[in-house]
């Protein structure tokens, strides 16, 4: 049976092209794979190969014709022995040398509206800590170590890998003692090759293990960010739900002290913009422990952002058997009525200083520790803003396209009518981190800036 040869699409963007040259003429025998014509696309001159075999019965579009639409018939191929007249019975009267109209080219329909994003189900509240539970003073460092040790005891598919995590006991001593307890099979020193070992860990996660990848700092994870985003975060979606990467990427993030521009960046906003990741940035030791345990159990890739300055700070941690906290749930640290303050991670140090000072001055601030950056618990934030009518955010990261930017957007979008003042943010300055002690201090936020912001939104002085 005679078949039409159609003008092929030869690039992702091609809609029409020029039939530059016929390399076969009417009556020629054609085998599959033979080049029959040359077509000029918007990008290049391409060869058109025959898909079927037969005899070129009729050329419908003369060479040199421009603006031939994709899918327009350009020739008729006859089966061996078929009469040339069969060519006429195929298609319409499209033998004109002019570019024939494309058959039923898809009319640009009005784009259907995207369905609404599903409402993120509200994370459950923190588990009730029974009255009388003993509180233990613990550093963030110890809390993180205990979290990993407890989860490694619980699930033998959990392992830790990273630079200096085993024999050296951790560059920041977070993994102290883990090698002794779990052995070198599960506590693994890697070469200094973030790109490679992160990819390896993602592959291991795809095969069913639950890796914890420690980055000495997240600044070095820049080498590995392709695997965190392209390999870990997107695989579940790209596979239609068949496989993902149940794992944790953790380590020091943000500024330490006097370590310069390449070792001081806070990456929360970068990772928080990626669908397919969860991002946690805890402040206290209890949250660090409870959320790291939750992250290790989570079936998704979780980015867990720690802070070197916080590692050595002491906090009260409830002495319970299995402290697991909900990912995606903010915590109201201080209740207040005059203004809402939202912070997370090390930003909380400035926030707490400011809130305490403001309280002495008679300004009552409701302080919320986000704890998780993605998913963002805006329910808690918005409820507070609807109560106070004012909000200030506090973080150490760069201001542009920051987590604060996102919070400000959502607040104006969802609580516009409740706002009595513009949303203000206190952030790190929009400069690479300087080394000089005085300049570094200027680049970071401080309690006075936070107090000033609260005074500005409450119109007090």
């Amino acid at each position: 049976m005679a078949v039409e040869i159609l003008m092929p699409a030869l690039s992702p963007t091609m809609e029409e092209g020029k039939l530059a040259k016929w390399l076969k003429k009417e009556g020629d025998t054609v085998s599959a794979g033979d080049v029959i014509a040359e077509i000029e696309t918007d990008k290049a001159t391409m060869e058109v190969e025959a898909v079927d075999e037969g005899v070129l019965g009729k050329i419908l579009v003369a060479e040199g014709t421009e603006e031939v639409k994709v899918n327009a018939p350009i020739a008729v191929l006859l089966e061996e022995g078929e009469d040339a007249s069969a060519a006429d019975s195929v298609g319409s009267a499209s033998a004109a040398p002019e570019a024939p109209a494309a058959p039923a080219a898809p009319v640009a329909e009005a784009a259907p509206a995207a369905p609404a994003a599903p409402v993120v189900s509200v994370a459950p509240a923190d588990p009730e800590i029974p009255a009388g539970t003993k509180m233990v003073s613990m550093t963030v460092r110890e809390a993180l170590r205990d979290a990993m040790a407890e989860e490694m005891r619980r699930n033998e598919n959990v392992f830790l890998m990273g630079e200096e995590v085993a024999q050296y006991q951790g560059a920041y001593k977070i993994s102290q003692g883990l090698l002794d307890e779990f052995g070198e099979k599960r506590v693994i020193d890697t070469p200094i090759t973030e790109h490679g070992f992160t990819g390896l860990a993602v592959g291991a996660a795809m095969a069913g293990l639950n890796p914890i990848v420690e980055f000495m700092t997240f600044n070095f994870a820049m080498q590995a960010i392709d695997h965190i985003i392209n390999s870990a975060a997107k695989t579940l979606y790209m596979s239609g739900g068949q496989m993902g990467a149940p794992m944790v990427f953790r380590g020091a993030n943000g500024a330490a002290a006097r370590v310069g521009a390449q070792h001081s960046q806070d990456y929360a906003a970068w990772y928080a913009s990626i669908p397919g990741l969860k991002v946690i940035q805890p402040y206290s030791a209890a949250d660090a422990k409870g959320l790291l345990k939750a992250a290790i159990r989570d079936p998704n890739p979780v980015v867990f952002l720690e802070n070197e300055i916080l590692y050595g700070q002491h906090f009260d941690v409830p002495e319970v058997d299995d402290l697991v906290l909900p990912i995606g749930k903010a915590k109201i640290v201080r209740e207040g009525t005059d203004a809402t303050m939202v912070s997370w991670g090390i930003g909380m140090t400035y926030a707490l200083q400011a809130v305490d000072e403001l309280a002495k001055q008679g300004v009552s601030v409701e302080l919320i520790d986000l704890r998780t950056i993605r998913p963002l618990d805006m329910d808690t934030v918005l409820a507070s803003v609807r109560k106070t009518g004012r909000i200030v955010t506090v973080e150490e990261a760069f201001p542009i396209c920051s987590v604060s930017s996102e919070i400000a957007y959502q607040v104006q979008s969802e609580a516009f009518d409740w706002l009595d003042a513009p949303v203000l943010r206190v952030t790190g300055k929009d400069v690479p981190m300087p080394y000089a002690a005085n300049l570094e201090k200027l680049a970071l936020p401080n309690a006075k800036e936070v107090i000033d912001a609260v005074k500005a939104v409450t119109y007090t002085s």
């Binding site: 001159t45 898909v51 994709v70 993602v202 592959g203 790209m238 596979s239």
Partner: protein
């Protein structure tokens, strides 16, 4: 032999398998039984017809974006599949349709993914470069050049961790062979003796740049030398040579010797992707490969010569294969697009 260079390996390897260093025992050719020849013929033909159909559907605008065809390279994945055991994993780049078909993944699902339909293996959300199957131990389908090498090393790490005796096969091209993470992976794979076969599908061109123009040393099988990883060049146009070399590498890995490199000297007949006019090579070069070294024609000639199959029987195989491919194309065109509600599913578990 570390450091041995072969600047002039632009042509394909003369001998079927060129062993280097300590690996002189790699058999050049696996003698195939009639059944094996017929299996290889059917599988390679199936891949070729499938890819031709994909190219056709692309031309009709039914497949969008990128589409990287495997035509010419069929012997590599089919020979390796014939050497693999159940549970051994495969992972590759974006030129992945053939690997999935060879693994036994549903051709309807593959073709429907190419057309972006709900019956696609990734529900239409992955596209030609991103399909996966836990059941068939196929781990994608990756669009970032070289990424699958580190990931495939991780699959081998998991095998080692679980002590399950399985081997991971990480496929990548000659272009990816210059990626930094490949060498980071080589280092860890040998350091930890992971059971992984690095399969370099050297089809002579990384997109439009020939190996000679991109690589300081062109014997890619020796790229593991500084890590202590042995490797051989294999005639990737001869399915028997591929099978033999893979059998050897599999045994090497399963015995706990760590990784192995197989450089498959092969050739892609089509452009890098559908929009590549392939002006960087001559028509004669392509024609010579097609007429003298075609992997399918080689098996066909042997089958006829040994009278293991008649022309009619081979035609019947072609017809059967065309039927399967036509059915997949039909499914891929009639299956509806994904429901709009799928937009927000499968982001998190």
């Amino acid at each position: 032999m570390a450091g041995t260079q072969s600047k002039s390996s632009g042509g394909r390897a003369k001998s079927a398998t060129k062993a280097r260093g300590a690996q002189k025992n790699v058999p050049a050719i696996a003698e195939f039984s009639k059944e094996q020849e017929l299996e290889a013929y059917r599988e390679m033909l199936f891949i070729r017809r499938f890819e031709e159909k994909a190219g056709q559907l692309y031309g009709m605008g039914l497949i969008g974006g990128f589409c990287h065809l495997y035509i010419g390279q069929e012997a590599v994945v089919v020979g390796m599949e014939m050497a693999k055991e159940k549970g051994d994993q495969m992972i590759t780049s974006y030129r992945d349709h053939a690997h999935m078909l060879a693994c036994g993944m549903d051709p309807n699902g593959v073709m429907a993914e190419l057309t972006g339909r709900r019956g696609g293996l990734s529900k239409g959300k992955g596209g030609s470069m991103h399909m996966f199957s836990k059941e068939q131990e196929f781990y994608g389908g990756h669009g970032i050049v070289g990424a699958q090498v580190a990931l495939g090393t991780g699959l081998a790490f998991a095998n080692s961790y679980k002590e399950n005796g399985k081997v991971s096969m990480a496929f990548f091209g000659d272009g990816a062979a210059n990626q930094g993470q490949v060498y980071e992976s080589f280092n860890m794979a040998k350091l930890w003796n992971l059971p992984v076969i690095y399969v370099i599908e050297n089809n002579k061109y990384g997109m439009g740049t020939s190996v000679e123009r991109a690589s300081s040393t062109t014997d890619l099988s020796q790229r593991g030398a500084s890590f202590g990883i042995p490797g051989v060049q294999v005639d990737g146009m001869d399915v028997r040579a591929v099978k033999a070399a893979t059998d050897y590498a599999m045994e090497w890995c399963r015995e706990g010797n760590g990784p192995y490199i197989l450089e498959m000297i092969t050739y892609r007949y089509r452009g890098h992707s559908m929009s590549d006019p392939a002006k960087y090579r001559s028509k004669d070069e392509v024609q010579k490969m097609r007429s003298e070294h075609d992997p399918i024609e080689q098996v066909r000639a042997r089958l006829l010569e040994k009278e293991w199959a008649s022309e009619d029987e081979l035609k019947a195989i072609d017809k059967e294969v065309r039927g399967v491919v036509a059915a997949s194309a039909e499914f891929a065109q009639t299956d509806p697009e994904p429901d709009a509600s799928e937009l927000y599913t499968d982001i998190l578990l």
